[in-house]
């Protein structure tokens, strides 16, 4: 302990120390159907309502390195759904879309007047990305739903 103290003192001397939240940052892409949510997110505050559990501290939530505003988990007969709310950054949208195409290939696209649904289906996981658009151009995220099939 003493050694650690000295090292830390050295590091922080004459400079600002930031709490290293790295240990608490959770990569949501690592979650599987088997993951015990409460254990996995231990230490991070949550809200629980009925069978749904929600985390909303974006400092700790990442999906392929993209900051996630809120994530909620719910288990049902089909498997586990992970619903993410993202910040309305166009670059986030481009990155997520590129990443998902890289992982699962071209999506099924369902375009409407003011929204677009992208859907990727495999036998293990279904991913739906819904965005709002204006004349076909991204304006904001609706939600990103990942269903992990049992």
């Amino acid at each position: 302990m003493k050694k650690l103290t000295i090292i830390l003192l050295f590091i922080t001397l004459c400079g600002y120390a930031q709490i290293d939240y790295k240990g608490l940052v959770k990569n949501l892409e690592d979650i599987t159907f088997e993951t015990d949510i409460k254990t996995h997110f231990k230490g991070i505050p949550f809200k629980e309502e009925y069978s749904q559990i929600e985390f909303s501290d974006e400092r700790f939530l990442r999906f392929y390195d993209i900051i996630v505003d809120k994530v909620s988990f719910e288990n049902n007969w089909g498997g586990r759904t992970m619903t993410m709310k993202l910040f309305n950054e166009k670059s986030d949208y481009n990155n997520i879309k590129t990443k998902l195409i890289e992982l699962y290939g071209e999506p099924e696209i369902n375009e409407r007047s003011s929204s677009i649904f992208y859907e990727w289906k495999t036998d293990k996981v279904n991913t739906t990305l819904r965005i709002k658009t204006e004349e076909g151009i991204f304006t904001e995220f609706d939600e990103l739903v990942v269903t992990l099939i049992q």
């Binding site: 922080t12 600002y16 930031q18 709490i19 505050p45 909303s56 501290d57």
Partner: protein, 419 residues
Amino acid sequence: MKNVIFYIVLLASISITSCGKDALKYDFSKIKSHADTKGLIAKIQLENEDEDIDSTSSFEQITIKGMHYAGVPIKEALITDNYTLLTTDTLNFSAKNLLEAIEANNGLINLTDSYSDRLEFGWKDETEDKTLKINLVNGKHLAAFGDKDYAELTINYKPIYTIPLANIHKEIKTFDNQAKYVLNTRSYDCVYDIIVNDIIITESSNETEFNLNNYIVGPDSSIKIIVKPRQKDGAKAFNEQAYFTAAIVNNENEEIIEAIEKTALKGSTPIVFQTDFNSTLPYYPKAWTDGADLRNDERLKDKVIALYDKLGKAMLAKDEQALNDIFYQKDFEMQQLDFDTNFEPARSEWETYLSVQLYCYKYTVANDFDIEFNSGGKLIYTYAKDKSDMIIFTGKGHDFTLNHYLYQPKGSNELKIIR
């Protein structure tokens, strides 16, 4: 993890203190009461005579250099009689630092409210309530705090009570296996009386959840449920869809201790369900176990009146010690049976009594009441007939009533409140 974070913050504040441009002299994180705050302002006033600071003012804005909260520099402190508002500067990630400094001490916390350009967090503990508002200036959101963001920390210091009744949580023992026995019911078109360990805990109720710990005094308990027709619209019999089912569950681990299977209710006579259940607890209260059998006590009615009269007198005399003695055993046992170490229940009950003392100028005790004998006559409950409750406290536009389970310890001649 928490410890490491704490160390880092501690070190950070040491390093800042030793080499920052303005020594961090006045630490608001060490302040624990309004009186402490006044002390700190007096100190600031003494050390900054050129500045115009009034330690007696009830609305004082201070912008002296050297103020900080756990190492995070504070640009402006507003001290009022009701709260202290600290605003950080807009340099060097001050908002982020302040949030992290508080979280290091108080644990991570959920956002209470969040707008696009302002985030709010709240903490509550025994001595203070804190609200932290982070104003995002050039940070986009919480995950990407900017270096110009600043924070406003509002602290409300709470009064400190020394009376044991307000500090019960400090006496509560916790255990590995602290069972919380709960009766859950489901039913249609019926009401029920519930009797636990020969204590009538409710009559003609249709609520669905009952905590049982308060009525447990040993590892073996009994429960009796008398299910009756609801008698709605003059009906005397059960409706044909009427049913009843119940289970005693240990809420700690969701384990079902005892279950009453779903039963269709027929006819018009009450149906009685009766069972024993294992009520093992790591703690058993003394409760009424050494109580005297009151069934043949001829002076019982007078004793009941005498007890409530004593309570009324203590309240009007603002006799805090007497009130403590009247309620302590009940409150302690109930909170211990809940294994609840939270400070709030005892504090809020004590503050209720304080407000009764403040607002009420009269009490009235029921003289005409029915006495119900429980647990072999050791525990009694009374039903006022001439008044709405056993004791009524009255103030101008204020009223407050009480009614409790009572017992008489062996060797004593006075009743005591126990539940």
